[in-house]
Amino acid sequence: MADQNESIPAQEQAAAQDPAAQQNAQLLALLHHLFGEAAFTDVEESYGLLSVTTTREQIHGIIAGLQKDQELQLNFLTTMCGVHFPDREGQELSMVYHLHSLTRNIRLRLKIFFPIADPVAPTLTDLYSCANWMEREAFDFYGIIFPGHPNLMRILNVEDMDYHPMRKEYALEDGTREDKTDLFFGR
């Protein structure tokens, strides 16, 4: 019995016990089957939600494929947003997509990373009408460019703003203050 347990990877063992983990393992197997194992890196399960990283070259194809796929029916774009990681060289900017299958109740998080010097991500407006404003928001906040977007202009901030305020270099705290040394103040 002990030998058997050792031969099963720990992840699968956990999956056998937890239904959410089981579902995620199945989902991952299906993703690998559909798009190949090489398409996904950094597979992790964060608080019950399967989260995979892919590349910006592949993301559009993957989301389009998932939208059409009859078995998964991951055809509801819950939300997407940008994130800025100034410390990750060459991968400073990120787009995070949350997909949801309303028929099978599966959620999936997809992430892409790309350099801030080349802040370009594919647009999803041809697949999802709701991507329009969400991409405008990502452009507004992080300066991510979506080639092919029909109307890529600022949405929440004023049009003549000349920077992208959600980037981490724009601290909320006044940068000239010296009385606060706390690492987390003003980030």
Binding site: S46, N132, R187
Partner: protein
């Protein structure tokens, strides 16, 4: 779009929309040629019938809307940025100000997100109290929406009747949290105080009187000839288009899709309650009105069940690292003082991780995507605001309809400016 309440700004927007139309892009807002004797109508930003600050520049052919260019962001307050330097408990006040018609749902949704991150288990009593408050909030949210829809069609009476009832719900909020509109209700780990006897008494009294008023309201509106003529088949959207536009909540259910976060991903013990999800068929204004009305009845059912079976026990989790100790204990007890200091100063480390948690808000799936790097504040916090996502469809829904139809469509979609702009 900058300051476009000037004529110059308006022309600039039309000019840019026309440029985009020249590229023949199907998704771009369209503005037709002035030579066709069309009228440009500036609906908003502060039009009394839009119930919030957002602008639509409409191209009208007589009474018909040819195209529209929506502008939002007038009350953008950069909540996602501000949240990046606030400790978790201070972000609750930001969530209040998103959908201010149902603040408790936003508050609870945020608390549950943090609890998920921290792995705090909330006791049953607190969960039931939360359910009661969230359903009260849903009712007030729907009361506002449906009452205002009556006002926009010329029937003021129903609105006044309902506002009276909403006032009583706000008195219950007052008993529970001390506030009325921006409630800042509950804490990470549970509630800040238990239901008092007065709160229970007020709730029971309200549960007795409200159904009568609601029935009266329904009698006035549901089969009212004038009202139905104004809203049936107005601003309809198909289920496919609604899903593609990311609709959630009553607006999606009116189109016939039975998606409700409370059922699909139960949180806060929603699986314990027996209730139904009303759906419409056509996704028009009348369906949205009827779905909201029925949801009010279902919410009442949930409240009654929760109040009947309200479990005994603590009203907050035993999580001293995150739950503020009672003020009296802070003065008398060393540990309480230490925890109080650490929580208020944000000296408590959170786990590293990413959480997505969503609740069924008044208008749909209200999601919180929280990236924590272990610090005192979120590294990134993204709010999935249902209004922001579904308001995109507005132009598509009103094109080809009359101006008065556009007003009732907007009203029945229940676009809350605070949530739209965050």
């Amino acid at each position: 779009m900058a300051v476009n309440d000037t004529l110059e700004g308006t022309h600039k927007i039309i000019e840019s929309a026309r440029e985009q139309q020249a590229h023949l892009n199907p998704l771009a807002p369209t503005v037709n040629d002035f030579n066709q004797e069309l009228t440009t109508l500036n609906l908003g930003p502060t039009h009394p019938a839009t119930h919030g600050i957002f602008q639509n520049i409409l191209q009208m052919d007589g009474e018909r809307i040819i195209s529209g260019v929506p502008t939002i962001g007038y009350i953008h307050r950069a909540f996602e940025k501000i949240a990046e330097r606030r400790p978790f408990y201070q972000i609750t006040t930001l969530t209040d100000r998103m959908n201010y018609c149902s603040s408790p749902i936003n508050n609870m949704g945020w608390h549950m997100t943090v609890e998920k991150l921290l792995g705090v288990e909330v006791p049953k009593r607190a969960q039931y109290i939360r359910v009661i408050l969230m359903e009260l909030a849903r009712i007030t949210d729907h009361l506002i929406c449906n009452g205002i829809l009556g006002v926009d069609t010329g029937a003021f009476t129903g609105f006044l009747y309902l506002m009276d009832e909403r006032e009583k719900v706000y008195e219950i909020y007052e008993e529970v949290s001390g506030a009325r509109l921006t409630t800042n209700m509950g804490r990470v780990g549970g509630m800040e105080r238990d239901f008092s006897d007065i709160a229970i008494a007020k709730l029971r009294a309200w549960l007795k009187t409200f159904p009568g008023v609601m029935r009266e309201f329904e009698t006035m509106f549901n089969r009212n000839r004038i009202f139905m003529d104004r809203i049936v088949d107005v601003g309809a959207i198909s289920a496919e288009r609604a899903l593609n536009y990311g609709f959630t909540g009553p607006n999606l259910r009116a189109a016939g899709v039975d998606y409700d976060v409370r059922v699909m991903n139960p949180y806060s013990s929603y699986q314990d309650f027996d209730f139904e999800i009303p759906v419409g068929t056509k996704g028009d204004t009348y369906d949205r009105f009827m779905v909201r009305n029925e949801e009010i009845w279902q919410s009442l059912r949930i409240i009654e069940q929760a109040l009947e079976n309200l479990p005994a026990g603590p009203y907050h989790a035993d999580a001293p690292h995150f739950y503020l100790p009672p003020k009296q204990a802070v003065y008398q007890n060393m540990e309480a003082l230490i925890y109080h200091f650490k929580i208020v100063m944000g000296e408590i480390d959170a786990p590293v991780g990413e959480v997505y948690h969503s609740v069924e808000g008044g208008n749909g799936e209200l999601g919180f995507y929280l990236v924590s790097d272990g610090g005192r504040t979120p590294y990134r916090l993204h709010f999935r605001r249902p209004c922001f996502i579904y308001y995109q469809a507005y132009t598509e829904m009103v094109v080809g309809q009359t101006l008065s139809d556009a007003i009732v469509t907007l009203s029945s979609m229940n676009v809350i400016a605070g949530e739209l702009d965050a």
